[in-house]
């Protein structure tokens, strides 16, 4: 099962290495990891998606919590949350297919952010499934390159209070 963890950490050199090292040393899987500044100066928020059973997840959370630079660990998988990733995809195109591709991406609220002679770059944000679906639709045209940020997420509504 896939889990989404929201982890508040000190914004210090080496913190990412501590967290990534913990996952690799204990054989936990990182599917994606995003990090950026949080609402509080000096703290960063990481969104980590990982796969594993409940027992593994419990260990992941407990081990993360043991790190001195980790302030808070939340499993937000089953919370109502907003989870988004940014996807950039370079797809082959020419004068004939350009309009067609435009038609395909429009319902996804994706946009063309670069046009070359033989390719386009499409930008879209959304949850992982939506972005996967768009890639599937673009495949027949020839997907040349993909870059995805991984999920970043926040729980809806309630204010997340910190200790």
């Amino acid at each position: 099962m896939r889990h989404t963890l929201s982890v508040l950490v000190n914004d210090q050199p080496g913190v990412l290495a501590r967290i990534a090292g913990l996952f690799s040393r204990r054989g936990f899987n990182i599917e994606s990891l995003t990090v950026g500044s949080s609402e509080e100066p000096g703290l960063s928020r990481m969104t980590i998606t990982t796969t594993g059973d409940e027992a593994t997840l419990e260990q992941v959370m407990k081990q993360l919590h043991k790190l001195v630079d980790v302030i808070k660990v939340q499993d937000i998988t089953s919370d109502p949350m907003v989870a988004r990733e940014l996807l950039l995809v370079k797809v082959a195109s020419n004068a004939q297919t350009r309009t067609e591709i435009n038609g395909i991406i429009e319902p996804f609220r994706a946009s063309v952010v670069d046009v070359g002679r033989t390719s386009l770059i499409i930008q879209v944000t959304g949850d992982r499934d939506k972005n996967d679906a768009l890639i599937e639709l673009l495949k027949p045209y020839g997907v040349k390159e993909i870059a995805r940020t991984g999920i970043t997420a926040l729980v809806r509504g309630q204010v997340v209070r910190m200790k």
């Binding site: 080496g14 290495a17 081990q63 919590h65 043991k66 001195v68 200790k163």
Partner: protein, 562 residues
Amino acid sequence: MSEPAMMTGAQMLVECLKQEGVDLIFGYPGGAVLPIYDVLYDAGIEHVLTRHEQGAIHAAQGYARATGRVGVVLATSGPGATNLVTGITDAYMDSTPLVVLTGQVPTTMIGRDAFQEADVIGITMPITKHNYQVRNAADIPRIVREAFHIASTGRPGPVLIDIPKDVSTQTAPYVRQDSVSIRGYNPTTEPHPMGIERLAEAISRAKKPVLYVGGGIILAEASEYLVTFARQARIPVVSTLMGLGSFPQDDELFLGMLGMHGTYAANKAVFECDLLIACGVRFDDRVTGKLERFSPKSKKAHIDIDPAEIGKNVAVDIPIVGDVGRALQALIEKAPVPDSANWLQTVRQWVKDYPLEYKSEEGVLKPQQVIDLIQEATQGKAIVTTEVGQHQMWAAHFYKPAAPRSFITSGGLGTMGFGFPAAMGAQLARPNETVICIAGDASFQMNIQELQTVAERNIPVKVMIINNYYLGMVRQWQELFYEKRYSESAIGQPDFVKVAEAFGVKGMRATTPEEAKEAIQIALAHPGPVLVDFSVAEEENVFPMVPPGAGNDEMVGGRWED
């Protein structure tokens, strides 16, 4: 208010160590720590110069394990720091409070593969409780205060501070740091009353309860509570290797060590029990054997200060996070009493029927016999450290430490070379006690150079080498599981008596039980360090044994097999 005094980083560091009450550190100088050594020259903190950084850190571990105080070790950058890695890992595995100080190349050189540069922060991240690299001298008071706090509270462990050379020489205002507040570090010490309530109920209902106790009891100074509680509730006790000394071994409730080289009674009791109360333990594989066969009939309670230990290896029914001493106190107040009279009778019978034993042979010195003789001579009142291997298990079986902090051994990492320097540290920490290192001939060779340190400082440790001319435990496994193909396990060795004498240490040899008895007497009476080389039966095995991968009910090599 007056202006804060200006100090160099090195001066601040030493000032902070004094503030923490440090009066003894172990170390080895080198280029990157020369500014610190220069301040130490007349600082009034005793520094013990070992002959290898590994000796220094194991000595600091011995000091910490024998006292409960934070051990401090100082080494230079690069090779100095990397020579500490084994000891840091060992301290991490056995939850030993240490502050490890390493020098580093100047900040301007970091990342350039400078001479004697190593990424010590990166290297030690997975083996420390926390680590710091100091970038500004002004941060030293806060960092040192935090390091000692983190090392010694919650589940103790090693904390490393890496200090670039230019930070040691940089001058900054020194602001003494008294309080400590670390947002991401708040260990839970007070156990939740609900958990205690549930455990007390489970105990009242139990018919076959067992207390499974470990090093956490010793770390938490909870031995007295354990004894009171076990006796009050009449619950038999089994101990891990790390827990030895936490419960009186001559008590009728004590069943011995459990696990791979556990007693029949301990392993059988854990297998048959209906309630297993784990206190300050971590369900190590050397204890559990095959997980599916570990205590299959019991409801399990686990008291530990580290929440991540609960449920890590074995699913637990009653988890209690907190200080094990507080939890036992709370249980003593609840005073649950199980209906366990029959059970006590059964387990006592197992103890009686299946004792730890060995066969004596005329004129042959048995390794177990040497430990027996040491026990007889000391009545368990010495501090014993061990190296790692067969002799370690025999020491665990036949030496009966009379108090906590008097059996010091490398449990989690199994570090050969640990015992001798650890004995030095323990002896310096507790100068009025007898300190004995029970060593194997191979392990002892791993830090043999520290003979010079004990000779020079006249540290009166007694090294007792159980010499079977083999990597004994390796040989035992090769005998049992590799068809006696003794690949590289017959280890050559120097004349230990001559080696001792060359370093200025009294050396003796014993080859018969009579000689052994006499040598132990002489060694214990001698005011300085002594090495005794006990030439023992070569192919003796540690039994009983649970073969690797088997369940604890599948023990081999004992009377019950006949």
